[in-house]
């Protein structure tokens, strides 16, 4: 009985608002601070998880004699980078990567503009289905159809050509170019074009002075994304490359197989740093979430 009585008193103490305000304030402050500490720790761990792997690669790429249980390499050196440039011919490989990327971007943009225009400005029956279909190559992991691509390319002698590899990249670059550009064209307000012609502009001048500036940001955004996609592409390249078309990702993979972690790290840094830089540079212009491919109606 006594226990029950004291329990009853406790509850009523918390039930009403007649609590010392100072006590409430103290508790609140404690909880708030614990909360913020937790959040800060969480975010810190998150950032570390994402960036530490790259830090490790970077350290590996400039370290010498880093064996055993050391936190940092005892000596620093740029030898591995020299090795990458001289022995593994990283400059030529980078050229390959860039050439292929430029080709892929050009082809994807040329595909994306008319198709994006059609999707954005014309009524097409089953547009959503068609759009999902066109996005399939991005949803289905490339390994599934890369086999087919490889076999076809062998027959067509497209393997180990810059054009061939770029064409393989187009499989995954074009869908996104189409997606972005159809959104761009959809956003083109008819009335702005009408205003242009009412003001006296011929269709050609209208196009250059009115339409082009409006769609340029969309085109640029799609180009940036297709470029990074092609630059980073591995699976399809692996299936269609040859000794003349070794790209950075493929070479890095081969280096991992060779076992020289240091040189591999140097190559990885060369490969990765531009991408991250580009991401931070363009994050003001383009909604970066688009890069992840936020598809509607999955």
């Amino acid at each position: 009985m006594r226990r029950f009585a004291s329990f009853h008193i406790d509850m009523s103490r918390f039930a009403s608002l007649h609590i010392d305000m100072g006590l409430i304030r103290k508790y609140l402050r404690a909880i708030l601070n614990a909360r913020r500490l937790l959040i800060t720790t969480f975010l810190l761990c998150f950032a570390l998880m994402i960036y530490l792997p790259f830090t490790m690669i970077a350290l590996r790429s400039i370290g010498r004699g880093w064996f055993g249980r050391l936190w940092l390499p005892p000596e620093l050196t740029l030898d591995w980078y020299k090795w990458a440039v001289e022995v593994t011919n990283i400059v030529d490989i980078s050229k390959n990567t860039l050439v292929i990327a430029v080709l892929a971007v050009t082809m994807s943009t040329l595909i994306g503009i008319p198709t994006g225009w059609a999707f954005g400005r014309r009524r097409i029956p089953g547009k959503e289905v068609l759009m999902s279909m066109i996005l399939l190559p991005r949803m289905i992991p490339p390994i599934a159809y890369a086999l087919g691509v490889a076999q076809i390319f062998y027959r067509l002698h497209l393997v180990d050509t810059h054009f061939g590899v770029a064409l393989a990249h187009v499989a995954i670059c074009a869908p996104y170019a189409i997606l972005v550009l159809s959104a761009t064209f959809e956003g083109l307000d008819e009335r702005i074009l009408e205003a242009g012609s009412v003001c006296g502009a011929s269709p050609v001048r209208n196009f250059f002075h009115v339409v082009l500036p409006l769609i340029l940001p969309g085109i640029l955004s799609s180009m940036i994304f297709t470029f990074t996609t092609s630059y980073n592409e591995f699976t399809l390249t692996l299936m269609t490359y040859g000794k003349d078309t070794v790209t950075l990702p493929v070479r890095t993979y081969l280096a991992i197989g060779e076992g020289y972690w240091e040189v591999t790290s140097a190559m990885s840094i060369i490969l990765v740093v531009p991408s991250i830089l580009v991401l931070f540079m363009i994050q003001r212009q383009v909604a970066p979430e688009k890069l992840v491919g936020g598809f509607k109606g999955v």
Partner: protein, 282 residues
């Protein structure tokens, strides 16, 4: 006059769509067709039909293990991604200091080739990596370095690292699309923070989370570069496919059969998933 121009418009539309459709058919559909056909042909030959490649693979005792492994890795990674993305997005939507930086950070795994991410993770979690050094020397939790690389939990961690952004991005945008008045209404009605989360926020963002996690699952199921270099003895389906080509002479048909099995499994799973998603939601 009218009918003529309508036909012309349709023609123009079709012509404009041609490049995109050509790319789709030429670089995806036809290759898939080729893969299907090749999977049904005897190895190295151009004619004849056979189901031997499918039979061989499915009869192998390890086949079940491979498929199970692939599913286990993908589902675990997806679940981890969901939990992690939820926490991350709930934190980020209050816009704490530096939230723009963290929103970009969220995208890093998608901006770099999976290969490099895997390399970095291998270095970080290796026996001489900082994580083990921390456990050994600073925290002194263990006497021997913990094996994370080339283990299943390690693989799940790597998968999650690489593929959580898909889930995180959709979760964040769904969360931010929520009408704040709804949470305020729950607030005023007497619900504390956890109750608002449990009864109002999470039910309302679940469709968005699931939609994003589909992408994570699909990507994890077909993950290739990670298991290739960090899988060790564990070989999910995608690596199995690649192995077949690495034989000399390359076993294209065997590889194709495995690729078709993988594609079929993905389609089945996707259909089930979509059916769950299509349930009348708000």
């Amino acid at each position: 006059m009218k009918r003529g121009s309508k036909a012309r418009t349709t023609l123009v539309t079709l012509i404009m769509m041609l490049p995109g459709l050509a790319a789709f058919f030429g670089l995806f559909f036809y290759p898939m067709l080729v893969t299907v056909v090749r999977s049904l042909r005897p190895e190295g030959e151009q004619a004849g039909w056979t189901l031997e490649h499918y039979a061989h693979f499915l009869a192998e005792p390890r086949a079940r293990g491979v498929i199970l492994l692939t599913f286990a890795l993908s589902i675990s990674a997806t679940l981890c991604s969901i939990v992690f993305s939820l926490v991350l997005c709930l934190v980020l939507r209050r816009k704490p200091r530096g939230h723009r930086f963290f929103r970009l950070t969220m995208l890093i795994p998608r901006v770099v080739p999976g290969l490099i991410g895997a390399l970095g993770l291998l270095l970080l979690f290796g026996s001489r990596g900082w994580v083990n050094l921390l456990l050994l020397q600073v925290l002194r939790f263990v006497d021997e370095p913990v094996a994370i690389n080339y283990t299943i939990p390690g693989l799940i961690l790597f998968y999650t690292w690489l593929y959580f952004p898909f889930t995180a991005v959709t979760t964040l945008s769904t969360l931010e699309g929520l009408d704040p008045a709804i949470e305020e209404a729950a607030d005023v009605s007497g619900a504390n923070r956890w109750q608002v989360l449990r009864h109002v926020v999470i039910p309302l963002i679940t469709p968005g989370i699931l939609a994003g996690s589909v992408l994570t699952f699909m990507a994890a199921f077909g993950a290739f570069s990670i298991p290739l270099i960090a899988g060790g003895n564990y070989r999910p389906l995608s690596v199995e496919i690649y192995r077949q080509i690495n034989f000399t002479p390359a076993r294209w048909s065997a590889a194709s059969a495995r690729a078709m099995i993988m594609a079929a499994l993905q389609v089945v799973f996707l259909t089930i998933y979509m059916r769950i998603l299509r349930r009348p939601s708000v």
